[in-house]
Symmetry: C3
Subunit: 267 residues, 3 copies
C-alpha cells in the first residue's frame, strides 16, 4: 500500500469542499485548539457534551471524536450515548484515551468506552495504547524487545480484537491496521511543548475519516498533515507560542507542493 | 438614525475609562477568547457559573452575557438565576443562542431563557435567530423570499414580542430594533475560520451596552468595532491563527481614525 | 536573604531537566495558557479534576496547584480530596483564590480550602489575599495606612497562622514568609490586559516549588521569571494578543543573561 502527496491533498480538497461536521466531546484544555485546527483544515467543528443533545448532534455529524483529557462522570455517560448513536448511524468514531495508564479511572474508562462500541480509530502515545490492553492478557502476551515494539504488539492485538485502526503517535507515528502497518516520520520536537497537539491530531483523524472510506488511509493522511504542518510551523516559529499560531496559518494554506516536498511515509 | 465613527469612539473611550464588569456565563471553547477581547477593549470580564454565586456576581456587574455554546443542565439553572437577578438590577442582558436549531435541546433552552426574562440583546446567525421563533407561528407567519428576509421577518416579530434588540450576524450584520433596522457591512470572511468570534461579538455587545443607554446603538457599535478590528486583522494576518492574535492587538489600539476610515453602517 | 539570577537560572535548569509533573485543578479560562506556560518552562502539566482520580494523579505529581477561577461544587469536593492527598505525600500545594472577596462563595471556599489543609504558597492580588482573613479578626487587627500595607499586614497574619508563604501580586509583588519579605518589581502593565497571567504565575510557583526546598525562594523565583518574561514580551509585542505568544516563546528560551539583565528583587 502506498499513500501519496496527491492522495492526501485530494482528501484535503474534499474536506475544504464538503466541510464535514466533526462532533467533539473533548477536554477543556484543547477545545479551542482543536476547533481552530478543524476550521483551518476546512471542517466544521461542533462541541457538545450534554446527555440531552449528544445523540441529536451525532445525527448531523460526519465523524465523532471522543477525548478523555479532562474526564468526569457526566461526560462519560454522554460519551457512551454518543458512541452508541455514532455506531447506529455508521459514522467513524475516533477515541483519544488521554492519560490512560496514568490513573486507573482513565484506564478503566477507556476500556469501557472501547468495549461499549469499538472505535474506528484509536490514537494515543505508546503508554496510553499499552494501557488499553487487559492487564492479565498483557502479562501473558507481551515479551517484546523494546517499549515501542511492545506497544506495536499490543496495538496489533487491539486492532484484531476490536477491528479498529490504532495510531501510536510519537517521533515516529505507527498506524496499525489489519495485517498492515505504516510509519509517518513527519513532525518536530517543538510540537511536544504545545498543549493539545495530540488532541488536535485525533480531531484531524475525524475530519479525514469523514471524507474517506478507509479508516487506515484517513489516519495516515491526518498524521502526515499534522506532522508536515507542525514541522513547517516549527521552521518559522520563535518558540512554542508562535508555533501554535503558525500551525493554524499553515494548515489553512497547506498545498499539494508542501505535502510532496516533506511527506515521509513508510511501510 | 445615524451612528458615526465619533460616537463609536466615544463609547470605546467610556469603556476604557470605566472598565465595566461584564459577567459571562459562556462556553468552554470561547471563554479565553472572549475574556481577552473584553480586556483588549477595556472592559473587566468575569466568568462565573456556579448557582451559589451567580446572583452575587451579577450584583457587581454592569452587563450579563449568556452564551449556550457548551450547554448542560447545571449551567442552565445558573443562567436562569443570573437572568432573573440581572433583570432585578436592570443591567443589560445579552443572549447568544449558539446552535439553536441544531438540536432541540438548544432550541428549547434558548426559548426557555428568553421566556424567563427577555434579554436586552439577542445575537446569533440567521438560522439561530429563526430557531428562536415558535414553530407553529412560524409556519403561519413566514413566507419571505429569501432566508435572510425570513430571518429579518422573524427577528422583527421577536423584537416586538420580547421588546429586545436582535442582531442577525453574517457577511452583513442586521441589527433590528423597534421600527428600525441597521446594517453593518464590516468584517472579513477569514473571521469565520476562527472559533469563538461570534461569541466575542456577543461579549462586546455586553461591554457597549454597559456604557450606553440605547441597546440598539450599543449593538450597532459593537458589531462595527468587531467587523473593523476583524478586517484590519485579516489585512495583516497570514491565516486564521495570526488573525486571532492581530485581532486582540488591533482592538486594544483601535483609534477613531481606524473606525472612520472603515465604518460601513447603513440604514 | 538574597536571590540571584544565577540561582533562579539553576532552578530553571532543574525544571527543564526533571520535567516535574504539576497537577492543576484550575479554571476553564486559563487551563490552556497555564498548560502551555508550564510546558514552555520545562515542566509537565496535568489537568484532572474528577473525584475518582485526583488522589491517584496527586501521587504521580511533584506539586499541586489549586485555582478557584471557575468554581462549582463538584470541583470543590475534588480540590479537598486532592489537598488532603498532597499533604499526605508532602508535595507543595499552591492556592490561587481567584475572586475571593468578590463573592461570598469564593471567599468561603478559599477559607475552607485553607483550613482543610494549609497550602505551601498562596498567590493572589491584594484584595483576594485580604479576603482570606477572617472578618471578625480583620476588624480588630487591621488599621494600616494604605491598602497595600493592609494587605501585607494580613498576609503576615495568614503566614503565621497557616505556616505558608503568601504572594501578593501587583505592579510590585510582595512575597511574605516567616519573618521575611521580598519584593519583585519585574513585570509590565500590558500583562494585566491578558487573561490568565495571574493563574499562570501560580502554576509557575508550582513548578519552582517542585524542584526547590524553600517555598519562599521558589515563589520569589517564579514571580521574577514571570515578570521578566512578561516585560521582555511586552517590549516586542504589538498588543495583548501578541504578548501572550511572545511570553511563551521567551519563557521557553529564557537564559541566565536575560534574568541577570532585568532582575529586580529587593528585600
Amino acid at each position: 500500500m502506498k499513500i501519496t502527496a496527491s492522495e492526501i491533498y485530494k482528501s484535503i480538497e474534499m474536506i475544504r469542499q464538503k466541510s464535514p461536521v466533526v462532533h467533539n466531546i473533548t477536554n477543556y484544555v484543547a477545545m479551542n485548539n482543536t476547533a481552530n485546527a478543524l476550521l483551518a483544515l476546512g471542517a466544521s467543528p461542533v462541541m457538545a457534551h450534554a446527555e440531552e443533545e449528544v445523540e441529536e448532534m451525532v445525527n448531523i455529524a460526519s465523524a465523532l471524536v471522543i477525548n478523555i483529557g479532562t474526564l468526569s462522570k457526566p461526560w462519560i455517560y454522554s460519551m457512551l450515548k454518543a458512541l452508541s448513536q455514532a455506531r447506529k448511524k455508521s459514522i467513524p468514531i475516533i477515541l483519544d484515551p488521554v492519560g490512560a495508564g496514568a490513573t486507573s479511572y482513565r484506564t478503566q474508562t477507556s476500556r469501557e468506552l472501547i468495549n461499549s462500541e469499538p472505535p474506528t480509530i484509536i490514537r494515543g502515545n505508546a503508554s496510553e495504547i499499552m494501557a488499553l490492553y487487559d492487564d492479565k492478557s498483557k502479562t501473558k502476551g507481551v515479551d517484546s524487545a523494546s517499549s515501542s515494539d511492545a506497544a506495536i504488539d499490543i496495538a496489533q492485538k487491539l486492532c484484531e480484537t476490536h477491528k479498529c485502526v490504532i495510531c501510536i503517535s510519537g517521533a515516529t507515528d505507527y498506524i496499525i491496521g489489519k495485517e498492515k502497518i505504516m510509519k509517518v516520520k513527519n513532525g518536530h520536537p517543538l510540537m511536544t511543548k504545545v498543549t493539545g497537539l495530540g488532541c488536535t491530531a485525533s480531531a484531524l483523524c475525524g475530519a479525514f475519516a469523514a471524507v474517506e472510506k478507509s479508516a487506515f488511509a484517513a489516519t495516515v493522511k491526518a498524521m502526515a498533515v499534522m506532522g508536515i504542518a507542525g514541522e513547517m510551523a516549527a521552521d518559522v516559529a520563535a518558540g512554542p507560542g508562535s508555533l501554535q499560531t503558525h500551525f493554524l496559518d499553515i494548515l489553512y494554506h497547506l498545498s499539494e507542493r508542501d505535502i510532496s516536498q516533506r511527506l515521509k511515509v513508510e511501510d
